[in-house]
Symmetry: C2
Subunit: 425 residues, 2 copies
Amino acid sequence: MDIVRPEAKAQAPVSPRRRRFLARGAVASLAAASGAAAADTPSLNVPPQVPQWMREPGAGFLTPPYGLPSPFEKHVLRKLPDQASAFPTATRTPLQNLFGTNTPNGLFFERHHAGVPAIDPAQHRLMLHGLVERPLLLTMKALMRFPAVSRSHFIECSGNSMAEFKAPGKGSVQDIHGLLSGAEWTGVRLADVLNEAGLLPSASWILAEGADAAAMTRSIPLAKALDDALLVYGQNGEMLRPEQGYPLRLLLPGFEGNMNIKWLRRLKVGDAPFQTREETAKYTDLMPDGTARQFTFQMGVKSVITAPSAKQVLDGHGFREISGLAWSGQGRITRVEVSVNGGRTWQMATLDGPVQPKALTRFRLPWIWSGEEAILQSRAIDEAGNVQPTRAALIKTDGQASVYHYNAIQSWQIAPNGEVSNVHV
Amino acid sequence: MDIVRPEAKAQAPVSPRRRRFLARGAVASLAAASGAAAADTPSLNVPPQVPQWMREPGAGFLTPPYGLPSPFEKHVLRKLPDQASAFPTATRTPLQNLFGTNTPNGLFFERHHAGVPAIDPAQHRLMLHGLVERPLLLTMKALMRFPAVSRSHFIECSGNSMAEFKAPGKGSVQDIHGLLSGAEWTGVRLADVLNEAGLLPSASWILAEGADAAAMTRSIPLAKALDDALLVYGQNGEMLRPEQGYPLRLLLPGFEGNMNIKWLRRLKVGDAPFQTREETAKYTDLMPDGTARQFTFQMGVKSVITAPSAKQVLDGHGFREISGLAWSGQGRITRVEVSVNGGRTWQMATLDGPVQPKALTRFRLPWIWSGEEAILQSRAIDEAGNVQPTRAALIKTDGQASVYHYNAIQSWQIAPNGEVSNVHV
């Protein structure tokens, strides 16, 4: 047993951090603000009443006991697009309300091509065929007996932030950039399953097909399949949610969202890309010269400040922390720089560790808002040396005809009244 | 933009891992098992039908869109104790159904002393008083403007596994060891808030009080408060759940669960322990000589195999992965050893990284079950050199009168028919 005996006395009652946060800001040291009665600066001269919730026993256990957020958090939800659509195909993650890096499963963004199938895992099969020595037809039970790995990775829709190619969106960071989430995934290495089947020498591409009514289908380069691709059944500690591919999803870390085939039912090994509808008619990037880029798998280096962000109103001057998310399809985030003056000068943000490859990374920068207009930006750099571009630089290379792979620096304007809005600078 | 062009061809279609998993076990290479019709070994000679869920569009978006698990996972729930109780005070986490290390918030174990209060965060206050220069009364808004940190830590009830002091429990790993969960917590350093108030020289202990009807109250050594204690409002990316202390919880990494005061409303700085009911009448450890240990804050080094575990039945011989969780209140797990023969010989398990201090750590060991009786055990070692004791060694030092801090090695017996049960060896 490892028992800590009570210390006689702590060495010196001095905090390791000397900064004072309340004293610098609008939320004054409360002993000094004894006359204030505002909600944020309650007075110690009026001792707080014992609240009603201490005067009676609280609620018992829920039935069924799968827990949900507090009713006071009912505004924290995934959201359909602001523009009405007869056939909505995506919901967005409330990035402005979240902490840390992994997105709760109930808030993970959704993108469906034919709705969410209700799959019985006992009936589900994964077929592996094509250029292999031994075709396989696997039950979930059989798959779940392979050695498992758990890894944190982001998934971002290639169409995330697409409206920003044109004009600054009027919504929140959820509306603008919310086709992005992160999770700890658990599953088996695709390389292990391919090894079980035995690849023939000409194998070089793999077709992956989903068991939804769209039979969502994409071509995967074999090198990716043998590198870090996973067949995942777990998300943030429990089985995948139905809208995320229950019971089985292909996970291609760093690749655009639609390639992470949900409800995975079939892998066919071939010797060339399969040129499916999703990679000819769709998910190609129209360039300024009229040509289209095909197979733009990897998501670029990108970041966004989530606090403060558009549609929020700063509640007073003084100290606050700027915080946001950075990610790259090419590896680890090594640096995030933050500007509070529209890009004239930059400061190094701290990164919450451990920083993991192809995963959301939380960055933070302490800031004292003077009450004057400010423009906040973040710029991420990854371990391959990629630097998140300005919007002008991105449009110079990619034009404005494309709707995919927008990864430019986001600018939030703070007005003197504290209102935050999306601007292109 | 970081674009991967399609590779001409992958180098060599050889998996980096040469082990074959299916071929070694009951789940045969399916090309070879073409005559088998069992659910686990479907035949490729009978091509699978296009399932019903591919023939029609799936479900649209939920309203409200806070997602829930698949209906096929409705057995994965927190559980009340097996013994009926007029006043159940705890639910247990389904460790046998979970992956990775962080417990989904809907499945995080619960322990209440007077039910779950329904707290309006706008009305909630944290009072900080006693031996400080400037007493503070803080709103949630004010607290959430302090610099934030996110860290993964376990919480374990000091009474977890208590029945094992006496006799082997008949239930599942959830029933026996399920007062244990892990999460990524977000909040502010208690040291920063104490610094804001200014500690007086005689400060050495802090009373923490919850806003439930029990006014749950414990004494915290100042050294711990200044080390790694947090005031947390976030859990696994979103606001705390009501049953976990919404909107504010004291987090004392590695300390017994009840000290992580939920619904935190008051911190009083003093110069001695406060000798509350919870540390005199309760939460002391009765020793064989009739004395009681008080202030046994830190949780010991411990581990448990979750797959396979009691009440499960192995579905055939051959390859499977032994997997479980290890943790220590004193720091990082450095090693987990696994025995498949009741402790006669031990093998080193691999640890999922990055391993974090005072956090759940997933370990794994590949295993080929021959079909003979086996006794599985795991033994964890932490960075302070603590070794998880055998049950005999623990009882020799702590006796069997105590109900707290049981951290002995767990033994699971595998019968030839595949049934797994809890044994004391």
